[in-house]
């Protein structure tokens, strides 16, 4: 496969409020041509700052980046020609119609809708019934489709999508990721950020970010493979009481609510006796109705694992 990097980032940092807030801390990574690269992390992790730096909207304090071979600071004009950016906040003209917005952004890049219609066809088909509606009056999912169309209409080489699925219903989210994989097939490199861990598995490679640092960069499958413990799951309708009990139970490393379930793991891998004891105690307290199963860790589990690792490191280091 192609592994030629199209974006290289070296030791990028950026602070705000005169150095008080460190949004991006000395990060380096590279993105390969024609891959979907995900920046995964909670709100405030620094995802938007990274996006704004790479889209030439924000200057880094230190470090540099090359985008499609262009120097981010010196050749920003060339970069602006070849990238498409979809900010996290809906940023199109709400008082212009769907069609007017699309037409405006196409003509600014010196192109027109017809020329690149093939890129947005799938998306725009769903939008065209509303093409005379003002963008401000569209639903969340439609707004997001319009924003993607406007960012695509000049046929960019690289797309930057900052939390494109935040605030969008689950069906539209799924559709959106299908669209991204179609765009990838058309040869576009995509950098996407999301706070939803379940979307990580849809990326080719992900970087897990927390507090302006990158915790890990790898293919989603490799990240989950590196999960160091056996992970257990309990299904119950008394999650609160189980969590409280698990927190007190000696030998438990981590326990947290995961959707309908509770995930937990033990400090030591040799924990068969503990598990038996735990099962017995829970049954005795009438707390669980189903069974305790071993499950495959997800990106979210890995993220929590990494965060608790960092926390205990921080405590050890003083």
């Amino acid at each position: 496969m192609m592994t030629e990097p199209i974006i290289t980032v070296e030791k990028l940092s950026r602070t705000f409020q005169k150095g008080k807030v460190k949004a991006v801390k000395n990060i380096s990574f590279s993105i390969n041509k024609n891959e979907i690269f995900g920046l995964i992390g909670p709100d405030g992790a620094g995802k938007t700052s990274i996006f704004r730096i790479l889209t030439t909207l924000l200057l880094p304090d230190t470090g540099f980046a090359h985008i499609a071979g262009y120097d981010m600071v010196k050749e920003y004009k060339k970069i602006r020609q070849i990238i498409g950016y979809m900010p996290g906040k809906f940023s199109l003209y709400q008082d212009l119609t769907v069609e007017e917005n699309l037409h405006f952004f196409a003509s600014i890049y010196g192109t027109n809708i017809d020329e690149n219609y093939h890129l947005i066809e799938d998306i725009y088909n769903q939008l065209s019934p509303f093409k005379d509606r003002k963008a401000g009056n569209l639903s969340g999912g439609m707004k997001q489709k319009l924003a993607l169309s406007c960012a695509l209409i000049h046929n960019p080489t690289i797309m930057f999508l900052d939390e494109p699925t935040t605030g969008v219903d689950p069906v539209s989210r799924k559709e959106f990721w299908v669209m991204l994989s179609k765009l990838k097939r058309k040869g576009i490199t995509i950098l996407v950020s999301t706070p939803y861990m379940d979307e990580a598995s849809l990326c080719d490679r992900v970087a897990l970010i927390q507090d302006g640092n990158i915790l890990s960069i790898d293919q989603p499958g490799n990240i989950t493979k590196q999960f160091p413990r056996s992970l257990y799951s309990i299904r119950s309708n008394q999650k609160g009481r189980i969590i409280n009990y698990l927190r007190m139970f000696k030998g438990i490393y981590n326990c947290y609510v995961y959707g309908e379930n509770i995930h937990f793991n033990f400090e030591k891998e040799d924990h068969r006796e503990m598990l038996v004891k735990l099962k017995k105690n829970l049954q005795h307290k009438n707390l669980f109705d189903d069974t305790i199963r071993i499950v495959e860790p997800s990106i979210e589990d890995c993220f929590i694992e990494m965060l608790s690792g960092r926390k205990s490191n921080a405590i050890e280091n003083g």
Partner: protein
Amino acid sequence: MRTIIILLRKEFRQILRNPVIRAMILIMPIVQLIVLPFAADYEMDNIQLGIIDNDHSSFSEMLITNVTSSGYFQVSKISNSYNEAFKSIESGTSDIILEIPKNFEKDLFREGKQALFIAPNAINGSEALLGSAYLRQIIQDFEGDICPDVMVLGSIDKNRLEITSSNWYNPSLDYHLFMVPGILAILVTMIGGFLSALNIVKEKEVGTIEQINVTPIRKHHFILGKLIPFWILGNIVFTLGTLISWLVYGITPEGSLILLYFCIGVFLLAILGLGFFISTFCNTQQQAMLIMFFFMMIFILMGGLFTPIESMPNWAQVITYFNPLRYLIDIMRMVVLKGSGFHHVAFHLIILSIFAVVFNFMAVLNYKKTS
């Protein structure tokens, strides 16, 4: 050029779709030009006069008749003592007290002169000033009227000098003629200043500026794309205003209309530039609005419309040199009232051009696509 046309088309669509802007452009000139000149009338009437007549002679009565028949004054109270009259000032029923001394008539004949006492309530400064000036004028006229009598009866040898004046360019000192061009100038300033100051900030607030900034649009294209629509709007407002001053007040410029439009054009570039400059360093419309209000207050109050610049202290006069509105109000009066030609307003135009260049240059410089 192509980019600018695209930006213009977008900008006009947005402006025409905004019902508030549409209404402001039509209603503001009409209301301001019809209401304000009547309200901002410098002529004083209905001044409440308290009189203390200690003489009760035919002369004192004649004086009172002269004062009341002038039309400026209404007698609110005739009292017998100063204290009583002063109470009426305190209670607000009188604005000015006129005290006629005892033996006014007798002493006037005997000595040929007499003192009257005027006490205005100076809380409203201009009313006090104008009121006592009117009163003094009436008393002087009265003196002239009775002079022959006095001279016959008494033995006064008095060379009296009468000053008469004629008001050039506005013979009847019609306040509408004086105010309307100035208010029109303020109108153009407000429309241009506020619309431009709020526009770029609005793009920042809504977030659309992010999407614009990642595109290859050049900075000066962007500013021009904003400048031209508002420049045209400013001219439309001015045209409407000129029509209203002709239809309602019958004011037609003595000088050339083309010159007037040229001056407005240059002035608009300056005020729009200032608006955009403010817009570039503000993050919210509220900030931009407050800063623009600060400038507007200074521009309007120190523009020479409400207070003549010549009567300001020197340091304040220096400040007015940096007020673009001052030059426009001057130009408007010169061209509309006096019929001045290009060479009379050339100096004003040069200064306005400097404002235009400096403000717009600062706006382009300060508008950063990257932070």
